[in-house]
């Protein structure tokens, strides 16, 4: 092994080890300095030593990453600090602060008075909101009028000289935001809603924070109506294992208590539903596609068979109290465990009017005839079609169950599933550690730094690939098999010259077109990782390849995306399904817009 191999190998150790070695001495260094300073003072005033030593024991020595601080100005000189103490010790901030201009980093002139502040103790592993009253400390009017600059404020746990400090940005511009409300145009379907509940549905707001006051009043009214009705009112189930298989990248499944009007779908916010929605593109201020939004089209209500004792039992569906006998025409799925009803008639009467109401809420939503046709095609294809119910399938695992590579393969929805034997050459580096849950690969991986830093390059793995993404504790995975024949056919179909440039990793080395790509699966204490061969391609080539791999079939659009014509996929290809919790997201959703217009 050469010296270059050795330095490369050492260079590729886990980022966690590198981070640990960087921060390990911080606390020790701090305590060392304090010890010396306190010792010096002790020669003069011994009682101060005792006080300081005691202070050191009670003030937490946190690393910078152990605390997250955000500030929001609410007007009248009041700043709300939201502080998350991620350490194992209680954090005690002091009631002193510094405020700097962001642009010049100069200290803002103060009156010398300290701010009024609540209790500044934050328990270990807790988040606390603290009110900071700056009225006697700063010229509030001057701060509010300084609209061209940000500020950052600093807090400390032990004085700004000896203690640790934390900063966060704050703006003193007072928002003139007024919650928007819109009158519902499509109201015919509301005729069947219980009279006392109808007002709730007649207007709506896109503001997800403003929906709560309305929802709380509504829940009280609902409970009054339900207790008046008596009988067995069956709650819907929340078992995500029985999940609609979208099997395409233009449909979104999001679980929520609220519908797209921000209105409760059930009797309260504990009842969740997963509408089947069509994704549509959105535009940023500069006219670029920035992702997608969704328009719920079908509304499955799922119940446990065991909970329904009689056809005269009730279901509560968006303001309507219906017996299960009345629900019968809406049934789309039934097995020994669950029964599902599709209830979109209780959400809208006319599809076009409904969609236009949606457009009112989002002025960033991109809408044209092509998108409208896709929504309409989707509705027409599934409305009354038994396939809508047939697509409900039991998913093979839950998030709290151990996941193995077998399970991952079972989860494959985007291509032919690989077998464990297929993968066995790649299964290396098993170990028991960690507490995260995810799958990642090359340029899309978030927690490993083996991605490519050139904006125009990416790696296309040969063998198989995993698309995205470990984020939080959710599994998000798409997987498809790709073999040499696939790649060769792609190259031939597009007349791509074989490797025409080199890839650059973040390691600063320039590599040839043949790459080794890492994969990683973590679930609780179980980690599997390994690597596989890949080929380096330019970004346009990669996009072409994805199109080729997944959209080569002429029927794909008609059958899976309900579009009448073929258009290029969006500028960015991101697919984030969660078969664990039954939701799916695709962005950017620009596929049905003429490419590069």
């Amino acid at each position: 092994m050469t010296r270059q191999d050795i330095s490369l190998s050492v260079g590729n150790i886990s980022p966690q080890h590198i981070q640990e070695a960087e921060t390990y001495f911080e606390g020790r260094h701090l305590s060392h300095i304090r010890f010396r300073k306190i010792g010096l003072i002790a020669a003069v005033v011994s009682c101060f030593l005792l006080l300081s030593a005691f202070a050191f024991s009670i003030f937490s020595t946190l690393s910078g990453d152990s605390l997250v601080m955000n500030a929001q100005y609410s007007g009248d000189g009041i700043v709300w600090l939201e502080i998350t103490n991620q350490s194992d010790k209680e954090l005690k901030l002091q009631p002193i602060m510094k405020l700097y201009y962001y642009s010049t980093q100069e200290l803002v002139e103060s009156t010398g008075e300290e701010p009024y502040v609540d209790d500044l103790s934050i328990p270990a592993k807790a988040t606390k909101k603290i009110r900071l009253d700056l009225r006697r400390t700063y010229d509030i009017e001057a701060l509010e009028n300084n609209k061209n600059d940000f500020f950052y404020l600093q807090m400390t746990n032990d004085g700004f000289t000896l203690g640790q400090t934390w900063s966060c940005m704050v703006s003193f511009v007072v928002s003139d935001y007024v919650t928007p409300y819109y009158e519902l145009t499509d109201v015919k379907h509301l005729d069947s809603v219980l009279p006392s509940l109808q007002a709730y549905y007649h207007n709506f707001t896109p503001d997800i924070f403003a929906r709560w006051p309305d929802a709380f009043s509504y829940m009280e009214l609902v409970e009054a109506e339900l207790s008046k009705a008596g009988g067995n009112i069956v709650r819907p189930t929340n078992d995500y294992r029985l999940c609609w298989d979208s099997y395409n990248w233009m449909v979104s499944l999001f679980s929520s208590s609220f519908d797209a009007y921000n209105k409760l779908m059930g009797r309260d916010d504990t009842e969740n539903f997963t509408p089947i929605s069509v994704s549509v593109p959105c535009l940023s201020d500069d006219g670029e596609f920035k992702g997608g939004w969704y328009i719920p089209i079908f509304f499955p209500y799922k119940y446990a068979v065991a909970d329904i004792q009689s056809p005269q039992d009730y279901a509560f569906v968006r303001g309507n109290l219906l017996t299960f006998e009345q629900m019968e025409p809406y049934k789309i799925y039934e097995d020994e465990q669950y029964v599902i009803y599709e209830m979109h008639e209780f959400f809208y009467t006319d599809l076009r009017t409904y969609v236009e109401d949606m457009l009112l809420q989002r002025d960033d939503m991109y809408f044209n005839d092509e998108i409208w046709r896709r929504i309409e095609n989707f509705y027409n294809y599934f409305n009354g079609n038994p396939e809508l119910g047939e697509r409900f399938q039991y998913q093979p695992f839950r998030h709290d169950e151990p996941m193995s590579i077998d399970t991952v393969m079972e989860l494959s929805k985007l291509g032919t599933a690989l077998t464990v034997e297929d993968l066995s050459p790649y299964l290396r580096g098993h170990r028991d550690a960690g507490n995260r849950y995810g799958v990642g690969m090359s340029s899309t991986i978030d927690d490993d730094y083996e991605f490519f830093y050139s904006k125009n390059m990416d790696g296309t793995p040969i063998g198989f690939f995993l698309i995205h993404i470990p984020t939080g504790d959710r599994l998000q995975i798409g997987i498809a098999d790709v073999d040499d024949t696939d790649v060769a056919a792609f190259v031939a179909a597009h007349s791509k010259p074989e490797p025409r440039c080199q890839c650059a990793y973040t390691d600063g080395f320039y590599h040839g077109w043949q790459l080794t790509l890492d994969w990683l699966i973590e679930n609780g204490n179980h980690i599997e990782r390994g690597d596989f061969d890949g080929a380096c391609r330019t970004e346009p080539d990669k996009e072409d390849y994805y199109h080729y791999r997944f959209i080569i079939d002429d029927n794909f659009f008609v059958y899976h995306c309900w579009s009448e014509s073929r258009h290029e996929w969006g500028y960015v290809l991101v697919h984030k399904p969660s078969y664990d919790e039954c939701w799916l997201e695709t962005e950017d959703i620009a596929a049905f817009i003429e490419a590069h217009q």
Partner: protein, 185 residues
């Protein structure tokens, strides 16, 4: 400024991002490059290239932690430079550290050696996981950051000799570990 704010500046394409990155991690980056290359001019070049790498890669990436991200870019650029300058006289801390590891990691030259090289980072991770945190940090500071024995000793408040002995024991453990895994005979 915290890391999230610096990353936000990168996302806003504000050149202030580089300034803030440099303010916060510049000294750390310089020390890593200097340990490896022992050349002030090269160090500045590498650090500037690393900032450019960060500028080009954020967005789309959101590194967390930012320090490890930038350190890794800096180190790898330095190593690339180091090997490009391999004809030069060996004179850096990193040469000495590499000599120490070379004795420990040399594997038989076989057709599997390329595979072994690919496998080694995984094995190193597993080995580091098996160490106590103090030994692990000293190992990483020495062979990843390229710190001198004296620097590590000062940081740990130990005598240099103690650090040397500890590193020697860790390398012995590594040799045994790799032998057990079939990596070296």
């Amino acid at each position: 400024m915290d890391d999230n704010q610096i990353v936000a500046l990168f996302y806003a394409r504000s050149e202030q991002a580089i300034v803030e990155l440099s303010n916060k991690y510049g000294k750390l980056c310089i020390s890593i490059v200097h340990n490896i290359l022992n050349d002030t001019q090269d160090a500045e070049e590498c650090v500037n290239d690393a900032y450019l790498g960060a500028w080009n890669s954020i967005p789309p990436h959101k590194p967390n932690p930012l320090s490890t991200y930038i350190c890794r870019i800096v180190r790898n650029l330095s190593i690339a430079k180091y090997h490009a300058n391999s004809a030069q006289k060996r004179n850096s801390q990193y040469d000495v550290a590499l000599d120490e590891l070379e004795n420990c990691l040399s594997s038989p030259a076989t057709v599997e050696s390329a595979l072994s090289a690919r496998e080694l980072p995984r094995l190193l991770d597993r080995f580091l996981d098996s160490l106590d945190v103090h030994s692990r940090v000293i190992f990483v500071r020495r062979y990843w950051y390229g710190d001198s024995i004296q620097d590590i000793a000062a940081k740990c408040r130990l005598r240099s000799n103690t650090v040397s002995v500890q590193l020697s024991r860790t390398r012995d453990k590594l040799r045994k570990f790799l032998s057990k895994e079939g990596y070296i005979l």
